[in-house]
């Protein structure tokens, strides 16, 4: 009986601590996100939270299936990344199986990818006026899109739009220039970085949908990354997007 009572007391103590932690989570400082990260589970597709395929429109599904069939035939002309080493842009770069380094600075968060010496810059807060590029330099679109962010506690909330048309979200999923991404980046623990992505692209998907990517702090990789040149791999007959 006494043993049961002691066990109950211990359980209650643990429960109390957990409750306390949930009510008052330990806040991570933004700089804690810095470091080298690697996707926890390699994946070629961005999978919705509940699994399965994204909520495609008829056109989106048709293009997705066409891409998948072409890839099965070994025809990757639909994919500028695989055929010419073009920028994968977002969110595909976040699916790279290679590590990336994340730097948090007051006005810019920068991700340096090991894949093809590529990087991503995210403006935090109000940008300084750039007299060289003007106030709306991003309107013509790019693969990386135009990313702006704010801190919501220890979560970096990133909104990205102004993408170019006809890219891929991942290995097969088509996107348009109406694509917008909302990402919530936070440390799930000191060694786990989470990127919760909300995808919207009205011509391709019937509704917004969410996916969650997690990254482990890399223990086997650090800067400088070994130089990776996609064009050299392509020339050598190796996959552009391994």
């Amino acid at each position: 009986m006494g043993r049961v009572r002691a066990g109950k007391a211990a359980a209650c103590a643990v429960l109390s601590v957990v409750t306390l932690l949930l009510a008052h989570p330990v806040q991570a400082a933004p700089n804690d996100m810095e470091g080298v990260w690697r996707l926890s589970r390699p994946q070629s597709l961005l999978v919705p939270g509940g699994g399965g395929l994204p909520p495609f429109t008829k056109e989106g599904r048709a293009r997705f299936e066409a891409n998948r069939k072409a890839a099965a035939r070994g025809d990757f002309r639909f994919d500028a990344v695989r055929s010419s080493c073009a920028s994968p842009g977002q969110p595909r770069l976040m699916l790279s199986s290679r590590p990336f380094a994340l730097f948090v600075r007051p006005r810019v968060v920068t991700l340096v990818y090991a894949w093809n010496h590529t990087f991503r810059q995210i403006t935090v807060g109000e940008p300084l006026p750039n007299p060289a590029s003007g106030p709306h330099w991003w309107v013509f679109g790019s693969a990386q899109g135009h990313a702006t962010a704010r801190w919501d506690g220890d979560t970096l909330v990133v909104k990205t739009d102004s993408f170019t048309d006809g890219r891929l979200l991942d290995a097969f999923t088509p996107t348009s220039d109406k694509l917008t991404l909302t990402e919530r980046l936070r440390l799930r623990s000191p060694k786990v970085l989470e990127d919760r992505i909300t995808v919207s692209d009205p011509g391709i998907f019937t509704r917004r949908w969410d996916a969650v990517l997690t990254y482990a702090r890399a223990t086997d990789a650090k800067l400088p990354f070994a130089e990776d040149v996609c064009l050299d791999r392509l020339k050598a007959g190796q996959p552009a997007w391994p």
Partner: protein, 279 residues
């Protein structure tokens, strides 16, 4: 071609501080044309790098922090003939032959030999730091990383390391950085390909050792000075040094994406189509 244009821009202003005169005795008529081109590009230069619209936030107070965004604020010659002390660059016959072949290809044959950068390959530090485009420095206790807007080049060096690792040859070489007082010294060697030191084609071999001394200065506002020493017995009789300076420009810290490979593929497709139509 954008890189070449920017390199021209970089060479076009009158504010030279380090190296020098642009002459090429064997190609005098071409030199005249080149100087006219440089003058024409000067106007573009002034438009391309306008002064800040606001009072910029200052760089970190610690002189050993070089974090931030910088862009060249001096104009370098298209073709360097003198080092930072005003002495002739001690080129070997081999270097002269390569340089003249590259110059002739541009100015006489009008069929330029394309350097690595415009091929979307990392071009080496001398070419990359000679462009009039901004770069971001990201510093940690054990590494320094340079993120360049042009060609999406990224170059990192480990800090606190005595000499470059004996790793595989790389386009940007193998690097090692260390602090000497307030100066960051980065040595790089083990290049994959011979280098172009400037847009006219001054060569360095892939066995060159490039040593850069980076330090904060404030002669003309907050600046980063980079003195680059080329040690390459195959191309130069003795090591020689040139100096560039870069302005602190946090207002240029977010770069427009340069999707070099996509542009190159698109240009190749266009050329293929044009060739097909001609036949």
């Amino acid at each position: 071609m954008l890189a070449l244009a920017l390199a021209f821009l970089a060479c076009a202003s009158g504010q030279t501080r380090a190296a020098a005169q642009t002459t090429s005795p064997s190609l005098a008529p071409e030199e005249k044309a080149r100087q006219e081109e440089a003058a024409r590009m000067e106007a573009h230069l002034r438009a391309a790098v306008p002064p800040p619209e606001i009072v910029l936030p200052p760089p970190p107070a610690d002189p050993k922090r070089i974090d931030g965004t910088w862009i060249m604020d001096q104009v370098t010659p298209l073709h360097m003939t003198h080092d930072a002390s005003g002495h002739d660059i001690p080129m070997t016959d081999a270097a002269n032959a390569i340089l003249q072949a590259r110059q002739r290809a541009v100015y006489v044959d009008h069929d330029p030999i394309v350097a690595t950068g415009p091929q979307c390959l990392p071009p080496g530090q001398p070419w990359q730091f000679g462009l009039l485009t901004p770069f971001q420095i990201l510093q940690t206790p054990d590494s320094v990383t340079f993120v360049f807007s042009e060609y999406h080049t990224v170059w990192s060096a480990p800090l606190g390391v005595a000499s470059p690792a004996a790793g595989p040859r790389q386009y940007m070489g193998q690097s090692a950085g260390r602090w000497e007082g307030d100066t960051l010294v980065i040595e790089t060697s083990t290049y994959k390909l011979p280098l172009w030191l400037e847009p006219d084609g001054m060569p360095a071999s892939k066995d060159a050792r490039v040593t850069m001394h980076l330090r904060r200065i404030s002669d003309h506002g907050p600046e980063l000075e980079i003195a680059t020493t080329i040690d390459d017995p195959e191309m130069f009789h003795a090591p020689w040094t040139y100096v560039h300076t870069y302005a602190w420009r946090p207002d240029m810290e977010v770069f427009e994406e340069y999707d070099c490979e996509a542009q190159a593929a698109s240009a190749a497709q266009g050329q293929a189509l044009k060739t097909k139509e001609q036949h």
